[in-house]
């Protein structure tokens, strides 16, 4: 019921992707890593649902 949405869901994919890359511009590797961590935590909180988060972790781990 609360399954992770793995269908395309962002209506302007190129725009978002561009913003994501741009957000890292001028950052050192350390700063980029810190940025990513803050982003993951922020998005994870928005999702909230523990089951969906578990599925997302599995997707990122590339497990079947």
């Amino acid at each position: 019921m609360n399954a992770l949405n793995t269908t395309a869901n962002i209506n302007d994919p190129d725009g978002f992707y561009g913003e994501l890359i741009a957000a890292h511009q001028g950052l050192s590797d350390d700063e980029s890593e810190a940025f990513n961590a803050r982003l993951i935590l922020t998005l994870a909180n928005h999702v909230g649902d523990r089951e969906v988060l578990r599925e997302a972790l599995a997707v990122a781990a590339k497990k079947e």
Partner: protein, 540 residues
């Protein structure tokens, strides 16, 4: 040969030669407790108050000095109160509620233990461990005068044990040389380094955290509030993290995280401790050192707490990092759990297998504590680069965003363990009943006029009825459960109803001698009540 391994805060039970030492054959004791720390002494008190003869063998002559436990939880105090020493602890202790967490010089998180009204004891008090132990021993002396068969032998070091199935032989070393003691039951309360565990060849599995913490207890006139303050990466740079917490007698616990590769001897030099303290407190603060030491932390437990006639409790059975105050607090819950079960078995009223539920319930509690304490320690001491990155991201975000604050973990404080789904539990048949008093939970306290509910529970089985009928007592094989008849109107504040009835109109609770709920119903069915009592004593 019998040198003290630590300095004493209070010398209370000096060595005295006893007749056992001169006998040709070893004397048999029903229960021997090895180790007279807080957990061993509380075990002796529990059994002694039941009238069961108990002998404590401790390798020192009193209570060790040093910076160990300071935070004692409500449940721990409630257990102590059942033994008659909780009030003394509360009187001496410092009550606190607020905790603040800082990152650098900014506050990122604050919690308030928000004391709920209608409890005899607060969520936490701070009290130096030597005082905590002292109050237990004071109570033992009082109980001895009232006839409790408790004996303490100081400077009696257990050097070897031999198991014989139904009893154990101990080799004991004293200033007058060795002698032997036999025990029907041996309770191992000999601390985290437990020699007994090693004598039995038992492992202690878990994790060691690669970090050192410098603990400084200092006496100072300071106007810091009575709150728990914790810094990550403190601006004053005295350590990777720092803790400040107040104790009675104008003493403050200060704790600095030093990292893994340190020179212990160098760090413990007074000038180096002073440097860290002055960076934190400023140059002009005057203080007096009470105690300092360096600790590394571990989270681990024995696979089995019971080995035939040998049973382990407290740090000997399980060890956690101090973040969360779960050490002594959980050890007291071990005692609470073991005491009545061992009492029933020794009196022949319950089968020995009842003691296996001690392991079942308390290892469940230990796992909960280890999980919480491991998580806190991982946050405070990140193990990998990525773990550190996420930790710092949480701290960064939590300055401005409420959502990140619940991730901040400087220790999740000890709460009583609920034995959900474990084998002694009976039926939970109170529709609308509150979750907090479900079967397996420790009874929440509630006011009763000028008195409190918990003072009327424990020591033996109770049938607590609220606006319900029930027999005045029920007996199974010599084990009696006695009724405590209450009405929701006995507590004008409504707390009793809120904590025990919820949406139900009436309730019948079967409550164990350790104040945990064994079963509950909305009305009394005597057959079901008897069956639950049998079941709670491990009789089927």
């Amino acid at each position: 040969m019998l040198d003290d391994r630590y300095t004493l805060a209070f010398k209370l039970y000096p060595y005295a030669k006893v007749a056992d030492q001169d006998r040709d054959a070893p004397v048999r004791h029903p229960v021997v407790v090895m180790g007279g720390g807080p957990i061993g002494m509380a075990t002796a008190l529990d059994l002694g108050l039941q009238g069961i003869p108990v002998l404590v063998l401790d390798d020192h002559e009193g209570i060790g000095m040093g910076s160990r436990a300071i935070c004692f939880s409500k449940r721990c105090l409630e257990v102590a109160d059942r033994y008659g020493c909780g009030e003394a602890m509360l009187d001496k202790g410092v009550v606190w509620n607020v905790g603040k967490v800082f990152h650098d010089d900014r506050q990122v998180f604050e919690f308030n233990l928000l004391p709920e009204k209608g409890h005899k004891f607060p969520a936490f008090i701070n009290l130096q461990q030597p005082y905590f132990e002292r109050f237990i021993i004071d109570r033992i002396w009082q109980a001895q005068k009232e006839g409790a068969p408790i004996e303490i032998r100081g400077k009696n070091r257990v050097d070897a044990v031999e198991e014989h199935g139904r009893y154990v032989t101990l080799d004991v070393m004293t200033p007058d040389g060795p002698y032997k003691v036999e025990a029907d039951w041996l309770i191992g309360c000999d601390g985290a380094g437990s020699p007994l565990r090693k004598m039995l060849g038992q492992e202690f599995e878990g994790r060691v955290f690669e970090d050192n913490f410098l603990i400084a207890d200092i006496k100072m006139q300071a106007d810091f509030p009575v709150e728990r303050w914790f810094w990550f990466d403190p601006y004053f740079k005295s350590g990777d993290s720092a803790l400040l917490h107040s104790q009675p007698d104008g003493v403050w616990r200060i704790d600095f995280q030093l990292g893994w590769d340190i020179d212990r001897k160098e760090e413990l030099k007074q000038e180096n401790i002073d440097r860290r303290l002055k960076q934190m407190l400023g140059d002009d603060v005057e203080y007096e050192m009470v105690w300092s030491s360096i600790y590394t932390f571990q989270c681990r437990r024995m696979r089995e707490f019971r080995h035939g006639r040998v049973i382990f409790a407290g740090d000997a059975a399980h060890q956690v990092s101090p973040f969360g105050a779960r050490g002594a607090n959980s050890g007291m819950q071990d005692v609470d759990n073991l005491g009545w079960k061992l009492g029933l078995v020794i009196e022949g009223k319950a089968p020995e297998s009842l003691l296996d539920t001690y392991h079942e319930e308390r290892s469940f509690g230990a796992d909960e504590n280890i999980l919480n304490s491991t998580r806190a320690t991982d946050f405070i001491t990140p193990k990998t680069k990525m773990s550190r990155i996420f930790r710092d991201a949480v701290l960064d975000l939590s300055e401005d965003h409420a959502f990140a604050r619940p991730f901040v973990n400087s220790g999740r404080l000890s709460v009583p363990c609920t034995y959900d789904g474990l084998s002694l539990n009976g039926p939970d048949e109170l529709p609308g009943g509150p979750a907090r008093s479900r079967v397996g939970s420790a009874c929440p306290d509630a006011p009763l006029g000028g008195d409190y509910l918990l003072g009327k529970l424990g020591g033996s089985f109770t049938i607590l009825t609220i606006d319900a009928d029930a027999p005045e007592s029920v007996e199974v094989d010599g084990i009696t459960a006695t009724r405590l008849a209450l009405s929701a109107s006995d507590d004008a504040t409504g707390a009793l109803a809120e904590r025990y009835l919820g949406d139900a109109e009436s309730a019948v609770y079967l409550i164990r001698p350790d104040q945990h709920v064994a079963a509950r119903w909305s009305t009394c069915d005597e057959t079901a009540l008897r069956a639950a009592l049998r079941h709670a004593c491990g009789k089927d």
